[in-house]
Symmetry: C2
Subunit: 687 residues, 2 copies
């Protein structure tokens, strides 16, 4: 519903504008005026003739046609005003900053629904209510301060559910020199939500003019597929996206729900979505600002960092942070190191960190950077930590840094920690369009986090054509089983997917049991048919290797309530694996994978993908399991073939895609020996 | 070696003081003067008659006796000057800010050694070289700026290996209003190191006048036992200590070593020491400042936090951070909630977070705090998040907050995020002696981190009296075995400690082997005697349950090079446990515990204590194992008795205490079934 009237209106009317700058309507008008809006600016005020030197209209009917209306009037008047404007003045976009709607009470919810219905009827965009508005290059349509430094090409596009969070983030960002391209606050967001702005940014993306940094604050992901699609698309176009999704704990989501009525989304699902889209996950404003600051520099393309400093302690902490996060501070040695040392003061170290001492000069910094840029191939990026003990000005150092940052092809990240001693010089540095990292470790962590957030994964081509009809036919037969499929339906599914399963025979008498065991060969496994939670009622017996045991167990099992038979299965050995699927309401299917047994139940060493999964994703997730060395095989114990396992997982993912009514699926255990991976037990629930 | 002349000198001479404030000697003198030093201040300058309005002495011999000398002269002159002053002027304390010593080259190391030898000869304190100096209430003896706000009772005592890190930390701390009691920079620290200042702070601690907050930046822990003893003692007296130990990765420790010549200490050992002492572990300046800010408020005594705000988004993120970190934001409901709601604007929520809306007033904040303080017993502390969208002044809110923070018994932590809109009001708030947390999540994490860092553990009384003589006698016999003890020595140790071990018989013939197996009963385990890494050479066989197998394995094993016999052991079953000891050079023994097998080798689920361990520590560490549920027993599988296991671990710890020449010890596996825990294999190395 986002349209050009909202983004770049030719005319704006502020309904409820005031001369009082302490009022939202007053400050809103003031910001639009001082932001130099180029179109026609109109004002409606019932009482005053002139407002902030503009003629004020008493009534809406007197207004000329106006593209965008900003409403700063009590909630109860909003629906009628929207109707009047949309109907009579061809107004196609509304920003409602007023509160008192769905966040307040039922009455407010009704007013909000009315407004949205009216806006929809006239095909008009509606941002808010309960928001601070919009800032972009076209107009400063917020009632809050500060207006951040705007840079439509290099600044961040920031979309926020929460207005106050947007303000606090801008304030904190300004401290380090962060610039913005646009700020969109969606408030209650029931017509236009954060995801819609992401879609808009994607659809309007222009390689030459658009900013490539997007920051999101979400309390709610109501359109996860839209977010995934457009975030992945933007990132594929070269953008970088970082986001906070708050309300990850149950208390937090209670808080979010009372704040903007946000629905709980599990953190697991959010992380899976972010990972799939390539969005960097953040959990605080500070983290989001650090990541945005990293985004404001050239993209890191390799792991090897040169740490350049005159302050050893910072270099030590930074090096620790980089190495712990997976990046590297490789040793610099040999002829190039000797060459470089000649330009530095005695006592300097170039082995990386490159420490050119408290007495190091601007010229030396320039030479070090030139060496790292041109002479040391394996260095991918530089971090320069340079503060001041307060003895002399360091502007000449920051001037060199400024020039080098512009001309070097390798990214250079500045840590200027002397917020007091070098306040003036840092201000100069920021005025050149740079962002500062006041804390070296915060930069180190942000750099690692952004580097190791992968690119969005492209959907795999589905190699297998699944016989959907066959699966649907068994689902139909099984619809009445409390949602859980029967063993034979499960077997059909496994067979259709060509996932090997343990040979099994269902039996109804001791005689049949003995015949089955003879056919399958001891040792065998017996499982009762009928009860759902078989192991809890003593309905599973392993390692059965004689007819005596077989008969004894058969008798016992048939006495379990609801028992209608027993399955006899060949007993397989191997590494216990686990594949699970769960459906996250309104979000999609999450596919879980890992080792079975204690790895699932005690150690929770499980990895999650949002369906549909790609091969690349599955392999990455499997490799990130703590127990991955067991999959590879250790100490003479055979592991499992990663390709075969991945293939099975992808088949399950594909199954979910074509049969989305599956809400739960567990293959547990799946026993693996090299390429030989066999499903031993499966449970499937459909809705 | 720290003495009163260093801490509170009656007279100070600055050697190499200058009129040039861009020089270290000039700025040092300037700072001492503007710091209002009350004693006699003297200056030595070879060239100028007056320096900064003080008479300058040309020669040391002309000086009167002086307690403290600060040296800002080239390195090569320092030893002689120290000799002259100590010998002739009764100078008992020196601060050498000059660089060019052991951090530079071998020549510098020699100069440094000379200085220290001279200082030691005259029983004088020597801080530095290569440091920025000292700031305390008595004098501002640093050559750097800024001088932070000093508050000798409520400020932080800050001791730093690195001068620049001290400066950057003070600068960052000042942004949030952090105050300091004293700042000690130790530089190369070869006479007086960080640990010595901790000892000093402990010895001089005065309940009424001393500050209770201590911050440390360490690149090196050269006296771990001193740090442990005095940090634990200070914390027992009510102090709170947080520290950075940098150089935790190999690249980081390479960096530290080139910076201050710091020796590598494993992060594992550092964390074990900090945990034992009760020191909060930090890895960046920002973290240290956040923890110090938490320390500046009343101590949190319970887990239940009320989050009070007018900005929903911040409350959501904060609630997530608190809950993820283990603290709680409990629901507030019932009559008290209804009562409180009556005082707030419609639409407010009191279910916790308490959101009193963007329109919330100062009066309402006061009422909310009063409710949390007096009427809601189960709330242990409050966090107030209050910023400004820039419409009006929030000073009245911060005034209420200021008063409540003074009068309330429960701690109140302020998050004032509007660094731009409320800049003036935050300045007012800080002027009242408070510290601000600009980011809610940073506070949340720091609060959790400090709350869950336990108190120092008191050494357990040793219940058992170990027959040390008997152990020493077997050690003597075994000294020639490449450091590794023989099986019989190992058995003696286990028997002396009364740790049950698997019955075993050493055999030298097939005949003896069969007799042994008959005695112990099948199944048995066979292990070759002679080779060190038995499993690597095929020298271990499990599950042997027949004479045929026994004889076959015996023959095979005796063909392994170096084989001199075979042990026959009863095969035990049970949960595989692991106890290990390793000696960290110059640091002490680390005791490791956990489950054996893949838990050690793949999952690295091991917990570490610094020896000697206490019962409380061991139990806490065991409970923090990821695999702890397995120790408790799950799914019908028997666990192990925690008391029995703890007892065995404490016996090992005690063994290390009385036989400290043990450098390595592994009991792996130790098999546990309930109270029945049996050592199956042990390896011990002595130095």
């Amino acid at each position: 519903m986002i349209n050009s009237q909202l983004i770049s209106p030719q005319s704006i009317v502020v309904i409820g504008a005031s001369n009082d700058l302490k009022k939202a309507g007053g400050k809103m008008l003031h910001n639009i005026i001082s932001g130099g809006f180029q179109g026609e600016l109109l004002v409606v005020n019932k009482r005053e003739g002139r407002v902030q030197n503009l003629k004020a209209y008493k009534n809406i009917e007197d207004l000329p046609n106006t593209e965008l209306a900003i409403l700063a009037i009590p909630a109860q008047y909003c629906p009628q005003v929207i109707e009047d404007l949309a109907k009579n003045k061809n107004t196609k976009a509304f920003i409602v900053i007023s509160a008192g709607f769905s966040e307040l009470n039922d009455e407010g919810s009704k007013l909000e629904e009315q407004m949205i219905t009216i806006a929809n009827k006239y095909n008009a965009a509606l941002v808010g209510p309960n928001c601070i508005g919009i800032i972009n290059k076209n107009y400063h349509g917020v009632f809050t301060t500060p207006i951040p430094i705007l840079d439509s090409k290099k600044g961040c596009n920031f979309v926020s559910s929460s207005g106050a969070t947007a303000v606090f983030l801008m304030e904190a960002g300004m401290q380090v020199g962060l610039r913005f391209s646009s700020v969109y606050s969606v408030g209650n967001g029931n017509q236009i939500c954060v995801e819609d702005f992401v879609e808009y940014l994607d659809n309007c993306f222009d390689e030459k003019t658009s900013s490539k940094t997007i920051l999101l604050y979400l309390e709610n992901i109501s359109k996860p597929q839209k977010l995934l699609k457009h975030a992945a698309s933007l990132i594929a176009k070269g953008c970088r996206i970082a986001a906070i999704k708050s309300g990850t704990t149950s208390a937090g989501s209670r808080a979010a729900s009372s704040h903007t009525g946000a629905m709980a989304t599990s953190d697991l699902a959010t992380r899976a979505l972010f990972r799939k889209a390539g969005i960097v996950y953040c959990s605080s404003r500070e983290e989001l600002i650090s990541i945005a600051s990293v985004f404001s520099y050239k993209k890191l393309t390799g792991k090897n960092i040169a740490v350049i400093t005159h302050a050893g302690g910072s270099a030590v902490m930074l090096t620790d942070a980089l190495e712990q996060g997976g990046l590297q501070v490789p040793i610099i040695e040999g002829a190039v190191a000797d060459d470089l040392l000649e330009y530095l003061h005695t006592g300097s170290s170039v082995s990386n960190p490159i420490d050119f001492l408290a007495t190091g000069t601007a010229e030396q910094l320039g030479i070090i950077i030139d060496f790292c840029e041109h002479k040391i191939d394996y260095i991918d990026a530089m971090i320069v930590v340079f503060g001041s003990p307060g003895l002399f000005d360091v502007e000449n150092v920051y001037k060199v840094l400024n020039v080098k940052m512009d001309v070097c092809k390798k990214p250079i990240f500045p840590v200027l920690p002397s917020l007091v001693n070098a306040e003036k010089e840092i201000k100069y540095f920021l005025s050149k369009g740079h962002v500062n990292f006041p804390d070296e470790v915060t930069l180190g962590k942000a750099l690692c986090e952004s580097f190791f957030t992968g690119n969005p994964t492209q959907p795999s081509n589905i190699n297998e054509i699944i016989d959907i009809k066959k699966i649907r036919s068994v689902l139909e037969e099984d619809r009445n089983n409390g949602g859980y499929l029967s063993i034979s339906a499960n077997n059909t599914i496994l067979d259709v997917l060509a996932i090997p399963r343990a040979a099994e025979i269902c039996v109804n008498s001791e005689q049949q049991a003995m015949q089955a065991a003879q056919k399958l060969c001891f040792p065998i496994v017996m499982k009762v048919i009928g009860p759902l939670h078989k192991s809890d009622v003593g309905g599973v017996a392993l390692d059965i290797n004689s007819n005596e045991l077989l008969v004894a167990h058969y008798k016992t099992m048939m006495e379990i309530p609801d028992a209608i038979g027993v399955t006899i299965q060949k007993q397989h050995r191997g590494l216990e694996l686990f594949i699970g699927v769960s459906y996250e309401q309104g979000f999609g299917h999450l596919l879980m994978m890992g080792l079975g047994g204690i790895f699932v139940e005690v150690l929770q060493d499980i990895k999650v993908c949002l369906c549909p999964c790609t091969k690349q994703e599955v392999i990455l997730r499997l490799k990130s399991l703590k127990a991955y060395p067991l999959l590879q095989g250790i100490r003479g114990q055979q592991g499992v073939d990663l390709d075969v396992l991945t293939d099975i997982i992808l088949k399950v993912s594909h199954l979910i895609e074509v049969i989305p009514e599956i809400t739960e699926l567990d293959i547990n255990p799946l026993l693996g020996n090299g390429k030989d991976i066999v499903a031993v037990d499966m449970r499937v629930k459909i809705c």
